[in-house]
């Protein structure tokens, strides 16, 4: 049974943060976990980083276990070691320690039986779900006992391939930002499996003396197979298998299904055209370039010098004369000329676009490269989540605003789904262009990362990645600091991304930055949030609204009505329901009557002012009238006296 204070994930799994299991996390923080229903303690909880969200699709798809793979059992929020909120993915504990700490040369039969076949089978099942693993590396592959099949570790608590070393990634993935490698394809897992087989065959990691950049450079210069195997002697079977598995082109690698039968897999030969090497090297920003692949890489990592080399014609000349590839040179020349004409018309970011397209033309296998950032389009979401660096965020914003993904995809239509990428690029651009706090990069980051927690500073470290959790978090934030405004730009972007169409329309209506006090649009949004996602009292939030509703109350013209509204708000706040507060403040009929009353009062005021002005202006007229009247009265009195005297005289 769970202890009363324990917070359970999925009402079932308890995380034991006091029992770290570092070696099982594949490089991520990992702790023991326990199933409170069955009492099973052979579980682990892998902690998710705030800026590196867990992979939503595998977590939703893998509801049934896969043999040879640590599939997720649940995921959710639980207290982390230092007491702050954490997010954990619960998996079965691996059968033994990872391979990383006990590498030794494996015989060929063991490689096939305990490494290749079980992992290929797991990958085959993953591919059947249209998923990839992207975390096959020695510290994330486990073996219970010698002679038992290997088990792949969990790969769900971080963006795909984020923690993969360059050694275990295809070069075109390794050159990407770690968060921007994307789900990739199962062929990328086959590549990593190939490197794992090589590691086990050698009994050590290949290229031990090189750092990440060196490994990548070596792979690009020599090709992965030559770079990794070098002069090592391998059995013919393993050597044949690795030739296919480490192919540069993902389409040339065998499928996991094919690898289940190594004899067939080794016989599959796909001839790749060897790259043309130049007789003399070209230097781009200090990077020596000897063929088209290394040129594309140099342009990708040295964008400023690359743009200069492209504009000056150095690259075209070198391709034509040094490499002898006139067709490629002409194609690059066309791209450069076209983009330079765009520069004259000041359209978009012509230099960055020119460089991106040139790289795509020079090496069609290369990822999208924009201003020194390389990524695969399906890695855009995690990269946005990790883009804490303002320069990186600015680059990504430019890239999305110019629909660079669509332009890039048009140059490699045979390797991607152009229609889908173009549609996504347009959609991303539209979201980015949404005005107000509900648009921009934050909204895009939340939209593309369903499990990314809200990064609002108002939530003070609380882990909120669903709207059902947000109202309570806001309530708690206001209880902790009653002066805290319940909405900021991050929260609005988060709500817009996670909410349904009604909530989205409310967020889109918020055109300006959130201000001090409360606007009616913010109140509508908070009300929708409570009504749709948390229909329980929020007294602290309601009290804050009652106190901050001044700007909304001020929309009413009638002062006594304002006072009355303020009193009613104070009376409604303790109930914690926002809908009556909204109804009170919105009240279309009352507002209409108020406006009509204000118009009538203004007309009445004008009439009074005019009357007062008339009185002030008619002093002389009054004086004349008084004189005339006085004289008439005097004459009348005189006449009356005369008539009286005459009457007296007649009478007698």
């Amino acid at each position: 049974m769970a202890t009363p204070q324990e917070i359970l994930i999925a009402d079932r799994y308890a995380v034991r943060v006091a029992q770290p299991q570092q070696e099982f996390g594949g490089g991520l923080p990992c702790f023991a976990a326990r199933d409170s229903h069955s009492g099973d303690t052979a579980l682990i909880a892998i902690q998710v980083r705030r800026d590196a969200p867990a992979r939503a699709r595998p977590l939703q798809t893998l509801v049934h276990g896969i043999e040879g793979l640590l599939t997720p059992l649940a995921h959710g929020i639980a207290p982390a070691p230092r007491g702050e909120a954490g997010y954990f993915v619960i998996c079965p504990a691996p059968p033994g320690p990872p391979l990383a700490g006990r590498l030794h040369p494996w015989p060929e039969a063991a490689l096939i039986a305990f490494a290749l076949r079980p992992i290929a089978l797991a990958l085959e099942k993953l591919a059947g779900h249209n998923l990839t693993h992207r975390a096959i590396r020695p510290n994330n592959v486990f073996q219970g006992q010698p002679g038992q099949p290997l088990v792949l570790g969990a790969a769900w608590a971080a963006p795909p391939a984020m923690h993969q070393p360059a050694l275990f990634e295809p070069p075109y993935s390794a050159m990407c930002h770690p968060a921007g490698r994307g789900d990739g394809s199962i062929a990328d897992d086959v590549y990593a499996l190939g490197v794992l087989l090589l590691t086990l065959a050698l009994g050590r990691l290949p290229l031990p003396d090189l750092d990440e950049a060196g490994v990548l450079r070596r792979k690009l210069e020599l090709g992965s197979l030559a770079a990794l195997i070098g002069d090592e002697r391998l059995s013919p079977l393993i050597s044949d298998l690795l030739r296919g598995m480490l192919a540069e082109d993902p389409e040339h690698r065998p499928t996991p299904a094919l690898l289940l039968d190594p004899a067939v897999a080794r016989s599959r030969r796909v001839a790749a055209r060897p790259p043309r090497h130049a007789q003399r090297a070209l230097a781009v920003g200090g990077v020596g370039v000897s063929d088209a692949r290394t040129l594309a890489y140099a342009l990708a990592i040295e964008p400023e010098q690359g743009i200069t080399a492209l504009r000056s014609g150095t690259v075209v000349g070198w391709l034509r004369r040094g490499v002898g590839d006139a067709a490629l040179a002409t194609h690059i020349d066309d791209v450069v000329r076209h983009r330079m004409s765009d520069a004259v018309t000041d359209e978009g970011h012509p230099d960055a676009a020119m460089l991106m397209l040139a790289i795509a033309v020079i090496d069609p296998l290369a990822p999208l490269c924009w201003r020194g950032v390389a990524l695969w389009p399906d890695g855009l979401g995690p990269l946005l989540a990790a883009a804490g660096d303002p320069a990186l965020a600015r680059s990504l914003e430019e890239m999305i605003a110019t629909e660079a993904v669509a332009s890039w995809a048009m140059l490699r239509t045979e390797r991607c789904d152009l229609a889908v990428l173009r549609l996504e690029a347009r959609q991303n651009r539209a979201w980015l262009a949404t005005r107000g706090p509900a648009g921009g990069l934050p909204r895009l980051a939340y939209l593309l990362n369903p499990l990314l927690p809200c990064a609002s500073a108002l939530l003070a470290g609380r882990w909120v990645n669903r709207l059902t959790e947000l109202p309570t978090a806001i309530e708690a934030a206001i209880v902790a600091n009653p002066n805290t405004a319940p909405l900021d730009a991050h929260l609005v972007a988060f709500i817009a991304a996670r909410g349904d169409s009604r909530v989205e329309s409310e967020t889109n209506a918020m055109t300006g930055a959130t201000q001090n006090g409360l606007a009616l649009s913010e109140l509508r949004l908070l009300t929708q949030l409570q009504v749709r996602y948390y229909p329980r009292p929020l007294p602290a939030l309601a009290a804050w609204i009652a106190g901050a509703a001044g700007p909304i109350v001020a929309l009413w013209c009638n002062r006594p009505r304002r006072q009355e509204l303020t009193e009613q708000l104070k009376a409604l706040a303790p109930a914690g329901q926002l809908l009556p507060i909204l109804a009170l403040l919105e009240d279309p009929a009352g507002r209409s009557a108020d406006a009509a009353g204000a118009r009538a009062a203004a007309a009445e005021l004008n009439r009074v002012e005019a009357a007062l002005a008339g009185i002030a202006a008619s002093a002389a007229e009054r004086r004349r009238a008084a004189t005339r009247l006085g004289q008439e009265i005097a004459a009348g009195v005189g006449l009356l006296a005369l008539a009286t005297m005459l009457a007296l005289a007649v009478v007698g």
């Binding site: 006594p560 005021l605 009185i615 008084a626 009247l629 009195v637 005189g638 005369l642 005297m645």
Partner: protein, 149 residues
């Protein structure tokens, strides 16, 4: 040839008044003397009042005439003689009454406009105070004062 509109000719009655006065002086010299002395303030008022319609002179004359009715009847009953006329003129009460009445008429003609002005201003100011009160009430109720700032 352009036709010039002929202005209606104003006929002065001064000659008729002079003829009347001359007839009275000729036919009733005692009566003329009595009236001339008793209505002297009215005559002076006519002479000095330059306002249109001579409102002051009109009141002075009306009041003076009211005081002259009794002496005129007395002279008429006494045969309309010069002696009777001088007798009446020698009576200070007769002359004093006539001139006092003329003086009262003058005072009335001077004071009545002032009183009328005071009354009219008081009424107007009361109305203005009511309007100002209404204005302040509207401003307080609808917040026009703040908006004007």
């Amino acid at each position: 040839m352009a036709t010039v509109a002929r202005r209606p000719r104003r006929h002065s009655l001064t000659w008729l008044q002079g003829l009347g006065c001359g007839a009275v002086v000729t036919l009733l010299p005692a009566m003329a003397l009595l009236l001339g002395v008793l209505l002297l303030p009215g005559g002076l008022a006519l002479l000095y009042d330059r306002q249109p319609g001579r409102p002051v002179a009109r009141t002075v004359l009306l009041c003076g005439t009211a005081a002259v009715v009794a002496p005129v009847l007395g002279l008429w009953n006494a045969g309309n003689t010069v002696d009777a006329c001088l007798g009446l003129l020698g009576d200070l009460r007769v002359v004093g009454t006539a001139w006092s009445a003329a003086a009262l008429g003058w005072i009335l003609a001077e004071l009545a406009p002032v009183v009328a002005l005071v009354v009219l201003e008081a009424t107007t100011q009361a109305r203005a105070a009511g309007l100002r009160s209404e204005r302040e009430k509207l401003k307080a109720e609808w917040g026009f004062e703040q908006e004007q700032r």
